[in-house]
Amino acid sequence: MRLTNLKVFHTQSYTIPALNFPKLATGYEQWLGDGFYFWQDEYFAKWWGESKKSNPINPRYTIYLAYLEFDSDDFIDTVFNEEDYYQFCNNIEKFARKCQENLGRKPSLPEFNEFLDAYKLWDNICVIRFQDLPESSQHLEVEGFYYKKRIQIRVKNPKIITKFVLHKNLARV
């Protein structure tokens, strides 16, 4: 067993008292289903607080710091591991083709996650690292050049969260 440690950020609206544990995200918006979501970089944790976790009436938000510790075999790293990235894509496309064949339509993102859960696939995978691109040039030092990854970490098993502490209370600018 080889342990992997990650230091990550979790953003939530400002509350009193502060959270003791990250909030479980449920619903259909999350890109990898229900779970605990973290930002790899503080920069995007702050951006998330500014854009989604605060508003002009409640301008304050909180960035928490979390430490994760898990077996490397229970980790799919689609951002920095080439094999994980291509295998991940292959699996999604295999599922999409079968869904098209049998149900006659393209599956949605929630359906992929529900399929994994229903058949207990990737059940031991407690952490997935995933990225998309910054939404606008606002986050980039070079206009129109999307060189920066917006990296998120989805945790399925809360037991691997070894530490969770308040990092910063901030107010939107």
């Binding site: 003791n20 544990f21 479980l24 449920t26 229900d34 779970g35 605990f36 075999d73 094999e83 994980d84 295998q87 699996n91 295999k94 599922f95 079968k98 869904c99 049998n102 149900l103 929630p110 359906e111 529900e114 399929f115 859960d117 229903a118 058949y119 696939l121 990737w122 995978i125 399925k156 098993n157 809360p158 037991k159 969260i161 969770f164």
Partner: protein, 96 residues
């Protein structure tokens, strides 16, 4: 067996053996299954949160702990006063 050998073999075994009826059945029940899974996750989350709160209650912050430890060793103002009073009584007795 590597990580992806295992993950792919499990994934393929399920995908390759599902019939059209299985797909339709899954499609009809997937939202209920999701609700069940959410309940499980929420329960796990609450257990972990409770264990974090218990650990916090048991461990005092290091600086406070150090302070309390020294409080036991160093004389408090009351103890110091009591010591000085005894010392003065001892000097008076010696001078009688």
């Amino acid at each position: 067996m590597g990580k992806w050998d295992k993950l792919n073999s499990e994934f393929d075994a399920v995908l390759d053996n599902l019939t059209k009826e299985d797909w339709i059945k899954w499609d009809a029940s997937r939202k209920d299954l999701k609700k069940e899974r959410q309940k499980e996750l929420l329960a796990q989350s609450l257990i972990c949160e409770q264990s974090f709160i218990l650990i916090e209650d048991e461990c005092q912050p290091p600086d406070k702990y150090e302070f309390d430890k020294y409080q036991e060793i160093l004389p408090s103002p009351i103890n110091s006063g009591f010591f000085l009073l005894n010392f003065h009584v001892w000097i008076i007795i010696q001078n009688i």
